[in-house]
């Protein structure tokens, strides 16, 4: 009933106390603004981490050799050479859905050209590696499957390594000496930037794994493999089948630990995003506290307002207002304050996070859902903190209220 005119009444009352209304709404503006900005920053960080994880490649299963428990000493991932080239071939052959496999060896090695030298990570991979990691070349060409089969002395270099050794010169076609073996540089990788762990992914030399095993790393075992699966839905099944296959090939009896580790890119992403999720939650919670404080501000002002306007309430009741009319009026006043504050707060929050993004180059991400949640929450704050004062007002006795001084 008569909600329309009650809205009117509530708006008139708010207009009568402009300064107070603005100050009360300010609490909510700051609260909502802080929530929006903080969650925006948190989500921005999370999406950046996710983007980096995605750069590991689509539908990739990572297999690391180790860890074994022979003689009680456990080595880290990739430490004990338990994976063999034949294992990789078996995976190519027997696991359904496998699109590509890249055998991997790596070592930190001093590389040199001319009078420059530089310690960098040398990675041995198959020719498919660049497709699996979705890592195109900026210049030149990758090595070929033929290079891998023949263990040719070719390599591609990352941007950082290239700059350190050759400065601004184009490294393609140049000779890079690795462990005193001359390698021909066939291409330069596009820069990938820092990994989620803060490692410079461009400080790298990638060569055929066969060449790396023969001339740089030594040994006959692989550190790991990158396996790409065609369809995301087959990831889990493929992961299980790989584990079963490798256990069988390595003659691991049931009940004994694997001497290898299989991880999907998904699992790695989850671990990495966990931190930023916690961060977002923490920032949001701190900002949420200020929103609650804003709500208490509304409650405080509404209680003061009810006391101050006791006579007004008495008059309204005398001329025919029901308790419910008074309740609705004060609720509408509270919710109007909080939701108008919410809208302004959302605008301020977006502005603040845009400013931070621009000023500090922080990635921020404001989703529609966080805006909707912030708005609904601020309206709910109005209802929650407005209800008690409104009920106080509605319960007044008109005779007492009229006599109130």
């Amino acid at each position: 009933m008569r909600v329309g005119s009650t809205f009117n009444v509530a708006f008139r009352a708010l207009r009568r106390n402009k300064m107070r209304s603005v100050l009360t709404a300010l609490g909510i503006i700051i609260g909502v603004g802080a929530v929006i900005a903080m969650v925006g920053i948190g989500n921005g960080a999370k999406s950046q981490v996710e983007a980096q994880i995605a750069s590991l490649g689509q539908n990739v299963i990572l297999i690391f050799s180790g860890s074994t428990t022979s003689s009680g000493i456990r080595t880290g991932w990739g430490g004990a050479g338990t994976l063999k080239i034949e294992d990789a071939e078996a995976i190519r052959r027997e696991i359904p859905g496998v699109v590509a496999v890249s055998e991997e060896v790596r070592s930190i090695t001093q590389v040199a050209a001319g009078n420059q030298n530089w310690s960098t990570q040398v990675l041995g991979e198959s020719a498919e590696y660049f497709d699996i990691r979705q890592w195109p070349l900026a210049d030149g060409a990758p090595f070929t499957p033929q290079d891998v089969r023949s263990a040719n002395k070719v390599c591609v270099v990352g941007r950082t390594t290239a700059t350190q050794i050759y400065g601004n010169e184009n490294p393609v076609g140049q000779i890079l000496r690795i462990k005193n073996v001359p390698f021909v540089i066939t291409g330069v990788l596009t820069p990938k930037g820092l990994s989620p762990q803060g490692v410079d992914q461009d400080d790298i030399v990638i060569m055929p794994y066969t060449s790396a095993m023969k001339r740089v790393v030594g040994g006959t075992t692989l550190r790991g493999m990158n396996v790409q699966i065609g369809d995301a839905t087959e990831m889990t099944a493929a992961q299980q089948q790989i584990i079963a296959l490798l256990r069988q090939r390595h003659n691991i009896r049931p009940g004994r630990d694997d001497d290898f580790t299989v991880r999907t890119q998904q699992e790695i992403a989850e671990t990495a995003t966990e931190t930023s999720k916690v961060m977002t939650l923490l920032l949001g919670a701190i900002a949420g506290v200020s929103l609650v404080v804003g709500g208490i501000g509304i409650m405080n002002i509404m209680l003061v307002s009810v006391t101050e306007r006791t006579r007004e309430i008495g008059v309204r009741m005398a001329v025919g207002a029901h308790g419910s009319d008074i309740l609705t009026q004060f609720l509408i006043e509270a919710v109007t304050l909080s939701s108008v504050g919410g809208v302004i707060g959302i605008i301020c929050g977006i502005g603040a996070s845009q400013f931070l993004a621009w000023k500090f180059q922080w990635p921020t991400l404001i989703s529609i859902s966080s805006i909707a949640i912030a708005f609904l929450f601020s309206a709910a704050v109005g209802i929650f903190f407005g209800f008690y004062p409104a009920r106080q007002a509605a319960a007044l006795d008109p005779i007492e209220a009229l006599r109130y001084e």
């Binding site: 329309g4 005119s5 009568r16 008059v315 005398a318 001329v319 025919g320 207002a321 029901h322 005779i399």
Partner: protein, 253 residues
């Protein structure tokens, strides 16, 4: 309303309970007020006249007895029904005006319409309020808040507010209590004009000369009606204004 009684009280009692003590404020009042009467309710403080006024105004319910307003027994109604009765049938005028601060005269007068069952557009509200304000001599003052109006003007706004819903009865509680004597006369003049137009008025006052403007005087003491008299020598606003002028010129001499 078969016998013409607009207000009928039948053996009305009101007892307040303060802890263990029962304090009787009204102890058996029976009363008929017909349509078009102008009644002054008098009595010392503590006589029960305010309590009786609250009951007549449907702000309070009698502990026992019956109150029949406009042919309907309202003594047993709940808060919301009483609020509806107040809205439709009763207009209030208070001693301290009770206007909403920082609110224009027009919006103050519109107030009862906002709680009426019948919904009006804001243009209709405005038109009605301006019309009633003009009828109490406040044309041109519609946009003034109470702080920019004199006491007499504020009471006129309050009277306009009481009249906006065309009530059966106007209840005035010490309407001249906060006004100087000249303004009091003007306000009583307005009440008399309204009464001439057929509006029933019940007024609480403790001043004999204000009660003299009414047609009928009731006197209460200790919660019962002590006397019920028709006013034989009615004061009129014009006459009193003349007297005021005379007394002033006498003093000046």
């Amino acid at each position: 309303m078969n016998d013409g009684a607009l207000v009928r009280l039948v053996d009305v009692h009101k007892t307040y309970r303060t802890g263990e003590m029962e304090v009787p404020a009204v102890r058996g009042v029976s009363l008929d007020i017909k349509c078009g009467e102008f009644v002054a309710l008098m009595g010392a403080s503590g006589s029960g006249k305010s309590t009786l006024m609250n009951i007549l105004g449907c702000l309070d319910r009698p502990t026992s007895g019956h109150y029949v307003l406009d042919g309907a027994d309202v003594s047993g109604l709940d808060r919301d029904r009483l609020a509806d009765i107040r809205n439709r049938k009763i207009g209030f005028v208070f001693q301290n005006f009770n206007l909403l601060p920082r609110t224009s005269a027009r919006e103050n007068v519109e107030l009862p319409l906002l709680y009426a069952a019948q919904r009006l557009t804001s243009a209709q509200l405005r038109e009605k309020a301006d019309h009633v304000l003009a009828s109490v001599g406040l044309a041109g003052r519609e946009d003034h808040p109470p702080s920019q109006l004199s006491g007499g003007q504020q009471q006129r706004v309050a009277i306009a507010r009481a009249l906006i819903n065309d009530p059966e009865v106007v209840l005035a509680d010490e309407p001249t209590g906060n006004l100087d004597s000249r303004t009091s006369v003007e306000i009583m003049g307005i009440f008399q004009q309204l009464n001439e137009r057929g509006i029933t008025i019940i007024m609480v006052t403790h001043e004999q000369d204000i009660a003299a403007y009414a047609r009928r005087n009731l006197v209460m003491r200790d919660g019962i009606l002590l006397s019920d008299k028709i006013v034989t020598q009615r004061a009129t606003a014009e006459g009193e204004l003349d007297k005021l002028a005379t007394s002033r010129s006498n003093r000046e001499e």
